[in-house]
């Protein structure tokens, strides 16, 4: 294999442009923050961060257009669409990574906008500039995870993301909850990273390679020699990533951390950090475990996938059941995120077969739907928190009278979260359910449906507060900052649009994405 050391060339930097832009912007903004006098409003840094994200997004899209040319012959298209392998195959630029990078960059952009509306006014955050520019390396870490070609790059991306988010969670320096959250997150996050690294070391030990491309051929042999060690390796990896994506039973940190962190950071953890870890699991398993499952005589891959299915099922049930008694908005969203991690794991764990092979499209669609509804809901929480001074669910009471349009948008997010039409969440869940049903995983279909019904109880509880109750504390109108309003409306409009017409997005994903070329690392 091409895992010999190769120095970086000028061409490589072009391929790495999206990540490099974020890194450069990060350095520039640190220095700017140091030089700028105190009296200058730090929202400037926020807008520059947003600009950096959008330029990086442009670079990703440009790369995608380059790799998926239209109006050329089939061979040329296939040639252009080939995954680009960089730095001794440790880094891959392909449609899998690019699609997810687009999701991460759009998500982070929305979160920066949300921060411009809320963190700017949050007195507990002393260094406002830090909040903005630390999102850049965090996002770059997520992008590296989606694009990595070997275990080392994967781990570097994971740590880049983790360490910056440890800082971000503790940014509300005047709040003891934030400090507690940061401490808990550092400890559990550290354990998770250790698990991941430990699992990786076993995989390296039995296959003799860190490259994802080698696992497909090396694993069958490794299984005959060191079967137990392979299992240990995979299960440590699953446990480590399980903590990162907050899937039950590895989810206990999530409510505390989401509650203490600044709300935009909670949204970042819920959407980007979770999405990146899921992307890593997806790539990793389909480059390794998948090749020792199904037809092959060693069924280790099937066991790994089954373990993932069990985690998915447990996450859905535990997430919804423990959310039933929740009275705090961000804790509730954290637990709903646990359940959603379960839903997102299903298309990964339901293996690719001859009759069901659009796992990635299901995954990506639901990830987009999840991003929109969650970022939107967190944005509404920032509005509520500013108006009432707390983040309890009763703060939603009478929202319809105080900010009718925000209440309507929140209704859209809640319908999407509870998987009701006509929202993106409905089709997202429907596609995943159909996928599970087509491979006859009926027990999983039943669990998904049951947990969805249980979730109606608390989701409709919020609707009840907003529309059926009036607020005793204040009947005054709530002022929604323009940027926050923008985030809320982008999310709501996109949620409804995808709920009415999910076809175009699914078609587009299917058009650019191929299992052979983009998912499997060979």
């Amino acid at each position: 294999m091409s895992s010999t050391f190769a120095p970086m060339t000028w061409h490589d930097t072009l391929y790495l442009a999206p990540e490099l832009i974020l890194a450069a912007m990060f350095l520039i903004l640190i220095i700017t923050d140091l030089i700028l006098p105190q009296r200058v409003n730090r929202s400037l840094i926020g807008w520059l961060t947003l600009a950096g994200l959008l330029v990086s997004l442009g670079a990703v899209i440009w790369r995608m257009i380059d790799m998926n040319p239209s109006g050329v012959s089939a061979e040329e298209a296939a040639k252009a669409g080939q995954a680009i392998s960089l730095l001794g195959a440790s880094y891959r630029v392909d449609d899998y990574g690019n699609l997810l990078k687009i999701v991460f960059l759009i998500g982070t952009s929305l979160i920066v906008l949300m921060g411009l509306g809320s963190t700017q006014k949050d007195d507990a955050v002393t260094d406002k500039a830090e909040f903005y520019y630390l999102l850049l390396p965090a996002t770059a870490g997520a992008m590296i995870m989606a694009s990595s070609g070997n275990l080392v790059t994967l781990y570097i991306g994971l740590e880049l993301l983790s360490i910056t988010t440890y800082v971000l969670v503790g940014l509300r320096k005047r709040s003891s909850l934030s400090a507690e959250a940061a401490f808990k997150y550092v400890v559990t996050g550290g354990i998770a990273s250790a698990f991941v690294l430990f699992g990786m070391s076993y995989l390296y030990g039995v296959t003799g390679s860190v490259s994802l491309a080698d696992f497909g051929t090396a694993l069958p042999q490794a299984l005959t020699d060191y079967k137990a060690l392979v299992y240990v390796g995979f299960f440590f990896l699953i446990a480590g990533f399980g903590i990162k994506i907050a899937a039950a039973p590895f989810h206990a940190w999530a409510p505390d951390v989401y509650q203490g962190a600044p709300t935009p950071v909670s949204a970042f953890l819920a959407v980007i950090a979770k999405g990146a870890a899921l992307a890593a699991v997806f790539r990793l398993l389909y480059s390794s475990a998948f090749f020792v499952s199904g037809g092959s005589k060693d069924q280790a891959g099937d066991d790994v996938m089954f373990a993932l299915l069990v985690i998915a099922a447990v996450a859905m049930l535990v997430g919804t059941l423990s959310a039933l008694r929740q009275k705090q908005a961000k804790r509730l969203l954290a637990l709903s995120g646990v359940a959603n991690a379960g839903y997102l794991l299903v298309p990964i764990a339901v293996s690719v077969t001859i009759i069901h092979s659009n796992n990635f499209a299901e995954f990506a669609f639901y990830l987009v739907a999840y991003l929109l509804m969650n970022v939107g809901a967190f944005a509404v929480v920032t509005v509520i928190a500013r108006a009432t001074g707390h983040e309890e669910l009763r703060g939603f009471s009478g929202l319809y009278y105080r900010a009718p349009w925000t209440a309507v948008a929140m209704l859209v997010f809640i319908l999407s979260l509870s998987g009701l039409p006509v929202t993106a969440g409905f089709f997202g869940k429907l596609f995943i359910l159909l996928g599970a049903a087509s491979v006859k995983a009926y027990w999983l279909v039943a669990i998904m449906a049951v947990s969805t019904v249980i979730s109606y109880y608390f989701y409709f509880g919020i609707i009840r507060q907003m529309f059926l109750r009036s607020n005793d504390e204040a009947e005054t109108e709530i002022h929604v900052p323009a940027v926050t309003g923008l985030v809320i409306w982008i999310c709501a409009a996109a949620t409804v649009a995808l709920g009415v017409m999910p076809g175009p997005l699914m078609k587009w994903i299917d058009m650019v994405f191929t299992i052979q070329g983009d998912l499997f690392v060979r």
């Binding site: 001859i354 009759i355 049903a437 009926y442 109606y456 109880y457 078609k507 299917d510 299992i515």
Partner: protein, 543 residues
């Protein structure tokens, strides 16, 4: 008259309330009268259109002429894994597919009629008019969509829209315990919808699969027509056992799975119907929601359960339906007797009517369980008839409550003296409910039981007891309200205003029309019996 088939008439009927919704949203929120006028206009238009459609219908037998389809969701499933078999593409296809037949058309007319009458009855709504009429009109679109949709997922989407709209309508404009009623409504019906969704997903992933020979495309289709065709076609993939296709057929539906899906459908729609013991939510809704909403709920929404049971349960799974007919009949009998007995013990007029609904829905089940033509005719007749009668009764309850501020039977009495008109209509409605010949209630009960005597005489014999009990509890409730000594408080109350009287007269007129000329309804339904149901019955009866 212009030929209706030239227009996308179903879409127009479906969209009119939505246009009304936009108009309502644009009107100022304190103008109660304007808002109600808009709601009345935009519910009368679909009523007129659907009546025209009803009149036009018999010229196009089977109703296929009105089918309206458009591609809604076409999701490609990954192409790589199929490329080796010469398959060009593999798609998941959901259609925007509307259609009517003799089963759904009467229910569409019933919907437009009752919503229009409920729009009149909304004169008693006291607050937040704008939001009320907005949800009200959305509800109408949802219900119409349920009866028209010919794609499983389109059906599901409309079904859920009614769920969301009803939640708000119950929870905001109901009586004291409205929030609890709304919650219970959402949880029970949400469970029902989830079970229905599971059944639909199982159906689409097996019976929905077919290969388009012309384009060599694999398709998972949500289309109702495709699924009916595939299930009936012995050479379709769903009916080929794995050993007939070389050991592997992921689309095969085993006998056990047939039964499981059928039972899932029975439970899903049984919650809506409601079949005992899933009825508690429905009592709360009847008792707590605003009377105009209960008119729609009792008059139409419960019918969605029976409609789904016929449309999906019986048509798709006739063999299972026949095997389980005795169970359905027993459940129906329990509904009938339990509802009637408990109704007799109620002290609250609204609850008498709620239990009466349970009892009457039992008759629908009995008619279905008869599993023959006359029984099915009776069940559908009973659906429409009960829709009209219960809408009328709750319209009256709304008007009574406005005047007396109570609907407890012990406090009412002698109202015939101060409100002769309302009392007269109440008596007429009661007589229709207990099945007096010449009114619609009689025909439905008679035909259902006639059908049942043919196939399950013992159960039919017991069911007759229920019919007698109905007379007892209805007369008790009506007489307690209208005759006897009158409370002094109620001596001065005024009789119905014109806006209240109008819908009462219209509904009663329809009840009498169906009672005297049942063929108005049965002829329309007959087309569907000939086209869809007769083959089922004859095939299964013979074999």
């Amino acid at each position: 008259m212009m030929d209706l088939t030239d227009l996308p008439i179903l879409s127009i009927i479906l969209a009119t309330p939505l246009i009304g919704l936009l108009v309502v949203l644009l009107l100022p929120k304190h103008r109660n009268r304007w808002l109600q006028a808009a709601a009345i206009i935009f519910t009368l238009i679909p009523l007129v259109l659907s009546l025209m459609l009803y009149a036009d219908y018999d010229r196009h037998q089977g109703g296929n002429a009105y089918e309206e389809t458009a591609n809604w969701v076409e999701v490609p499933l990954n192409k790589e894994t199929q490329a080796s078999n010469g398959v060009t593409s593999f798609t998941l296809s959901f259609q925007y597919d509307l259609g009517i037949d003799g089963l759904s058309l009467p229910l569409v007319v019933l919907t437009t009629l009752i919503t229009a009458m409920a729009a009149f009855a909304s004169v008693h709504v006291k607050k937040r008019w704008k939001a009320f009429y907005a949800w009200f009109l959305l509800l109408e679109t949802g219900v119409l969509g349920v009866f028209m949709a010919r794609d499983l997922f389109l059906f599901f989407v409309f079904f859920e829209i009614t769920l969301i709209a009803m939640y708000f309508l119950i929870g905001i404009w109901g009586y004291f315990n409205r929030e609890r009623a709304a919650n219970q409504f959402v949880i029970y019906n949400g469970l029902g919808s989830a079970i229905m969704l599971i059944a639909f997903i199982l159906l689409v992933s097996t019976a929905g699969f077919h290969i388009d020979q012309d384009t060599s495309t694999f398709i998972y289709s949500g289309s109702y027509a495709d699924i009916v065709r595939n299930l009936a076609d012995p050479s379709a993939w769903v009916n080929l056992a794995p050993d007939q296709t070389g050991g592997l057929n992921p689309f095969h539906m085993s006998d056990a799975m047939h039964t499981v899906i059928f039972l899932l459908l029975v439970v899903a729609f049984g919650i809506k119907l409601p079949i005992l013991p899933f009825h508690t939510w429905m009592l709360k809704v009847h008792n707590e929601a605003h009377p105009a909403i209960v008119m729609i709920h009792s008059g139409i929404l419960l019918k969605m359960g029976a409609y789904g049971l016929i449309r999906f349960g019986i048509v798709l799974f006739p063999e299972q339906a026949k095997d389980w007919a005795i169970v359905l009949a027993t459940l129906g009998l329990i509904n009938l007797l339990y509802g009637a007995l408990v109704a007799f013990r109620q002290t609250e007029l609204k609850l008498v009517l709620a239990y009466s609904s349970i009892s009457h829905m039992g008759i629908v089940l009995l008619g279905l369980a008869a599993f023959n033509e006359i029984g099915l005719q009776g069940a559908v007749f009973q659906l429409v008839s009960h829709g009209l009668i219960s809408a009328l009764m709750f319209l009256l309850v709304g008007s009574l409550y406005e005047r007396t501020r109570t609907t407890t039977l012990s406090e009412l009495g002698g109202l015939a003296r101060s409100m002769p008109f309302i009392s007269g209509i109440l008596l007429a409605g009661g007589l229709a409910s207990l099945g007096l010949p010449g009114m619609s209630g009689f025909v439905g009960e008679f035909m259902s039981l006639l059908g049942l005597f043919d196939s399950q005489p013992w159960i039919a014999g017991f069911a007759v007891i229920g019919v007698i009990l109905t007379a007892v509890y209805v007369l008790r409730a009506v007489l307690k309200t209208t005759f006897g000594p009158i409370d002094e408080r109620f001596l001065a109350v005024k009789d119905a205003r014109l806006i209240e009287a109008l819908p009462m007269i219209v509904l009663l007129a329809f009840i009498l029309l169906l009672g005297c000329y049942p063929s108005v309804l049965t002829d329309t339904f007959q087309y569907s019996v000939d086209g869809v149901f007769k083959p089922l019955f004859s095939l299964r009866m013979g074999g």
